[in-house]
Assembly symmetry: C2
Homo-oligomer: 313 residues x 2
């Protein structure tokens, strides 16, 4: 049997894909076993569980599993970086079952400086699904640490991280803005109000208006239960304001997006207030990226059926 | 005996002053009893303890004690607001000992919107100590929620809150930036590096560079123990960048400052990178402000020795 077991292994979750010999997804499994919350037995136990009953195919992982606090540290590649370069720089760790797990490297942007792990693989998958975007495209990957990415000539040429998702969680859970507001109630108008406040904050930026989330609530001008959506709008709006002001990403055409559908929809709504068009998100980009990288490395394809040894393993 | 008992009662701490008949500080006491962490017995127990043994003088409090979650909610006054207006709008709560505690109102800025409680009293005190600044001056009050304030013709005409201090604590304690960095070591160069990175972030703003605190550390270009000072520089620098870009405060002359001496010194160092001059901080501004407001209201002065009843009590 040919195919690949792909692992998208992040900080807070683990997703596994069984891909057939043509790279189609046969089965997907998810566990809450990010590298910060592994089960007893650590990486080996998590791997054994999530791939239980699947055939002994080559295994390729991406994401924080390759970070310093992961299973094995994989390097960060310089920009520009494409599929072939990622595939050429896999590292491999031998699992408890004696067989290797290959890990995709991350990318490093020197000016921020900035780093990514996992998103490079999602981008490879997305570009394989939509090859016309390889020449020139702008990408948004929302999440805890949102990435904005420039792609040119089939490779990643620039990117930056905005900690929008993490700041939202921190401010709601731990700051004065989230104090005594009770349960959140979805409020599209409050979200839009936050986006517009951020957009109109000018070069000063919306962090100078964060406290309005509390002042409006104290005024009775914003329901306590709407503070989360207002704050979400303010932070997504600030991200968009900052990206527009930075003039680093081409925003005149549609922005491609990869991520959770509901979160991508929030970005699409917010982007509308900036005259920016955000497309519908792609699904399973990581699985397709892992397949492409495995193909490029020769782990799969051309009838490959067994664990091919890598020099670094 | 004449005089005043002044209470500067914030979210996380309580400070009490015994002022003599001329408004000079006879004694100061501090307790960790902010309104969010009161002792058993609440506000009354805290008051009885911190004023134990002091004479039964009129009592005037400012700060979050007058907030919705405080002892009694005091209103927010419109801008511009001066000493006489603050004094005219005191509210009063009767303590367990049967005598009143008067509370200074806060201020509300309509555009943010934004609010302050406590800083208005510090400003009254600072302007009384330096009357030449009353005509026109720019003020910085660093802290958990840093305030920038315009004073004109003896009153507060504009202000805004920057949550710099709270964001610093949140990011270090709860975000990926503070993960696995061990104990902080003071590093002036790292602080300056953060300030300059923020200053040079342009209109995009330094929140687009927050993740550099982690990327530099992963690169080995920033010691893990220096991440706190780098992050502090980045956040203070962003605050200054934002205030400069907003063009809301006059920065061509010296900026006056009230607050903790060490924190004010950090702001002074950071401001130097922006060509902004920040003066030495004033001490005990709140005590002097409470005295001025008490004088204006007639709670003290002209031989006043007893608890004068207020209509609102």
């Amino acid at each position: 049997m040919s195919g690949l077991l792909g692992l998208d292994w992040g900080t807070s979750s683990l997703r596994a894909y069984w891909l057939d010999g043509q790279g189609a997804i046969r089965e997907t499994r998810a566990r809450p076993w990010g590298i910060r919350q592994l089960p007893d037995g650590g990486f080996d136990a998590a791997l054994a569980d999530i791939t239980h009953g699947w055939p002994p195919l080559p295994r390729l992982a991406c994401g924080m599993v390759g970070s310093r606090n992961g299973w094995l540290e994989a390097p960060y590649l310089k920009l520009p970086a494409d599929t072939a370069q990622l595939a050429a720089t896999l590292v491999s760790v031998r699992a408890a079952d004696g067989l290797p797990v290959h890990i995709v490297p991350g990318l490093r942007e020197p000016r921020g400086p900035d780093v990514m792990r996992g998103e490079e693989t999602q981008l490879v998958g997305a570009l394989a699904l939509q090859p016309t975007l390889a020449r020139q495209s702008t990408w948004l990957l929302p999440g805890t640490h949102c990435k904005w990415v420039n792609v040119s000539d089939g490779g990643v040429t620039d990117f930056c991280t905005l900690m929008t998702g993490e700041l939202y969680t921190l401010l709601l859970q731990h700051s004065i803005l989230g104090a005594a507001i009770g349960d959140a109630v979805a409020d599209e108008a409050a979200f839009a109000r936050g986006v517009i406040a951020a957009r109109d904050s000018g070069a000063a930026g919306a962090f100078s208006r964060l406290f309005s989330a509390r002042a409006l609530m104290l005024d009775g001008a914003l329901a306590a239960s709407s503070v989360p959506d207002y704050l979400s709008g303010l932070l997504l709006g600030e991200e968009l304001r900052s990206v527009v002001a930075g003039q680093r990403y081409r925003l005149d055409g549609p922005v491609q997006v990869i991520g959770d559908a509901a979160l991508c929809a929030r970005y699409r709504t917010a982007a509308h207030h900036f005259g920016i068009s955000v497309v519908e998100p792609l699904a399973d980009a990581a699985a397709h990226g892992l397949w492409q990288i495995a193909l490029s490395r020769g782990l799969v394809g051309n009838g490959s059926t067994t664990h091919r040894a890598l020099p670094s393993c």
